[in-house]
Symmetry: C2
Subunit: 413 residues, 2 copies
């Protein structure tokens, strides 16, 4: 996080200024990995005394800890090394997808500390039942986190659908319409932990969460700030990151690349329209084309990867065909957006070796600037660290970093 | 212009602060249409005395003028009304398109004061010759502007191609590759006015310029800040405006919607790929489908409009077919972007009555949020004030408003 790294002018009231500066100092420590009070003071442009007072408060909140002495850097006597806490507040992320549920606990430093995945077909199951199952997995993760002295500051739920205002407007592949996901999940979690303080619940689209994970833990760490993110699951999800910010759109529904038309006369899609990309390059289409049971889920994808590795012609041609369709659709998106890079996640990441050449070929042919090939590796596999559950957990961590006081007050309340 | 409407803190050096505040006051007068010194002071948060001194300077620069007294608003004695000058600095915009060249002079208030259009087929003509012709038209416009006591502060050239760093990287429909358009145009204009101070020349893609015109003079005035702009010419140009800012992309080439694939096996496009939208919904494709000479240009479009108005079946089906293809491609862009509105310009604006139903139908069917129809009129004809030459001229005006001191220094130098 590099935005907003300037101290507020002291025209705001004192409490607001202090609250802002607490975040400023905490984020400076977070971004640096480790820092001394003197180093932070130089970086954020506050006095050494002001920084010391702010650090005391952050130590009290339990979001920063002291780690011995350093003699490097500044002249004079050694400073105490500060890092963000590896215990205490954490982020809890839940990804509910078509054929699995994943839960992840990330600490303030961004490290993955708990990860649980349950393979289960959620299609045609009542939303309340799916959410109850996700809550059980989340409760187990909270238990494992507690063993490591971590306590989630909140839970963020990511789902494959149009999510806004705490509600899934629609998730065609789950068969959900107008599900109040935050309320139902909070209730299910509360039922499992009746005597514990309820965790704040927030929610988002799963491709958005995965793209943010990519930004925070993957591509962003290599300096890529504008990219198109595509994730292959049962559906095909997408998200756009521009200058380090997720593009949400006028109604919060930007990024829906899976329903780009490949052929207006093509097969009917779960969204109601015909010939959407999902019907050509989604997981089921890929498996079917390779002669594998479309409902075989993760096992099916592993089987497809195995066959491709062995050079099985029908597996290779299924992947190549999906790659061609992806390339055609991506060329349109690249011509429209001109991103620095295109990141492929989900099953596409597993199949990258066989998929990428076809995708790249179409992009090289169709990106009008002619810059696709000149510019080096713009098509990339998403980081294995960049999944939706981790992005969802990261969202909670970002909230703590952005306002540690709100966290501490809630924790004390 | 509403951004950046706060005075700088006086930590910057005095000259920088004054320069910034001069723009602040000028833009406040511009945005209000007319204002008193007291009104400006309240609006920008500077003292009345500071504003008076800044206004004196702006009067000297010739960018603001006094217009009698008002007794409205504030209590006490009447204030002098300030407006931006209707004489003095202006913007000169040049649009070089495939079958016409347009030149426009806009004053500081944004009013169109000179407009010249020359219908001429620029295909296959040497770039230097086309630019010399454009320079002749620009020189005539400068003459007409002088008759109205207006003097362009600079000239901005808009072209249908990939434009970056003063160079047209490629303009497939013109047949241009790597043309140093700013240098060649400046030279041609200097040759026509050898004893006058050379005008600064800048350049951009024509759809970008048209979208900015739409933002400044059309849609933006109705509060629409995020939209997709599509212009039908020989080519199909596009641009994206997000939150009042043009999306330029990583290399400056965003918005190229004309090369979205409709059918990978379709006819070869001037860009080198196959089956691009241009081949289905560009002006030539539209005319050909209606049985009109594809090279008939503006006359051909007028003929198509006349036939459609009379209910000629082949004209109607040609427009309907183009509308369907546009709708399919636009649905992909809307799913990706979730804009507030889609604006259709160029020949699409003329054909709106017959085109819009087909475009709208595809969008309603294919925008996954299901929000296309619910949300009211999101498909709109671009403003007739929103053409590329006007946007190009507006770019120069914005530069003067953003830094009147730079203009005055150049004018004096």
């Amino acid at each position: 996080m590099t935005n907003n790294l300037t101290p507020l002018e002291p025209k705001a009231d004192k409490a607001t200024v202090r609250r802002h500066n607490l975040s400023l100092v905490l984020r400076a420590v977070h971004d640096a990995g480790e820092a001394t009070r003197a180093g932070v003071a130089t970086h954020v442009g506050l006095t050494r005394a002001a920084v010391s007072s702010l650090v005391e408060q952050l130590l009290e909140y339990g979001v920063v800890s002291e780690w011995g002495k350093t003699s490097s850097g500044q002249a004079g006597r050694p400073g105490t090394v500060l890092k963000v806490s590896r215990s205490g507040p954490a982020g809890l992320g839940v990804e509910i997808n078509i054929d699995y549920i994943a839960v992840c606990v990330v600490d303030l430093a961004g490290t993955d500390r708990v990860r649980l995945v349950e393979h289960v077909d959620n299609r045609g199951v009542e939303p309340s039942e799916v959410l109850a199952r996700a809550a059980r997995l989340a409760a187990r993760a909270i238990g494992s986190a507690a063993d490591q002295e971590l306590e989630p500051a909140g839970v963020h739920v990511a789902l494959p659908g149009l999510v806004t205002g705490g509600t899934v407007r629609q998730a065609p592949n789950l068969g959900w319409r107008r599900v109040a996901v935050e309320g139902l999940f909070a209730q299910a979690l509360l039922a499992l932990r009746p005597d514990r303080r309820p965790l704040p619940v927030s929610s988002d689209n799963e491709a958005n969460a995965a793209a943010l994970a990519e930004l925070w833990f993957g591509a962003g760490t290599e300096g890529v700030r504008s990219f198109l993110y595509l994730t292959g699951e049962i559906g095909v999800g997408g998200a756009l990151v521009l200058g380090g910010e997720l593009l949400r759109g006028a109604h919060g529904f930007a990024g829906e690349i899976g329903h780009t038309v490949v052929d207006p006369e093509g097969p009917r899609c779960r969204c109601g329209a015909h010939g959407c990309l999902e019907q050509y390059a989604g997981q089921a289409a890929l498996l079917t084309a390779a002669g594998i049971d479309a409902d075989a889920g993760a096992r099916g994808v592993a089987e497809l990867e195995r066959r491709a590795r062995q050079g099985d012609p029908s597996a290779l041609s299924a992947v190549e065909r999906a790659g061609r369709q992806l390339g055609v659709v991506l060329s349109g998106a690249v011509n429209l957006f001109d991103p620095e890079a295109v990141m492929l996640g989900g099953v596409y990441r597993e199949l990258m070796d066989w998929l990428a050449p076809a995708v790249d070929r179409e992009l090289a042919r169709r990106v009008v600037s002619g810059l696709w090939s000149e510019d080096g590796k713009r098509l990339r596999a998403a980081s294995p660290l960049g999944d939706a559950a981790r992005g969802a957990a990261g969202t909670i961590v970002r909230e703590v970093l952005a306002d540690p006081t709100a966290y501490a007050e809630r924790d004390a309340g």
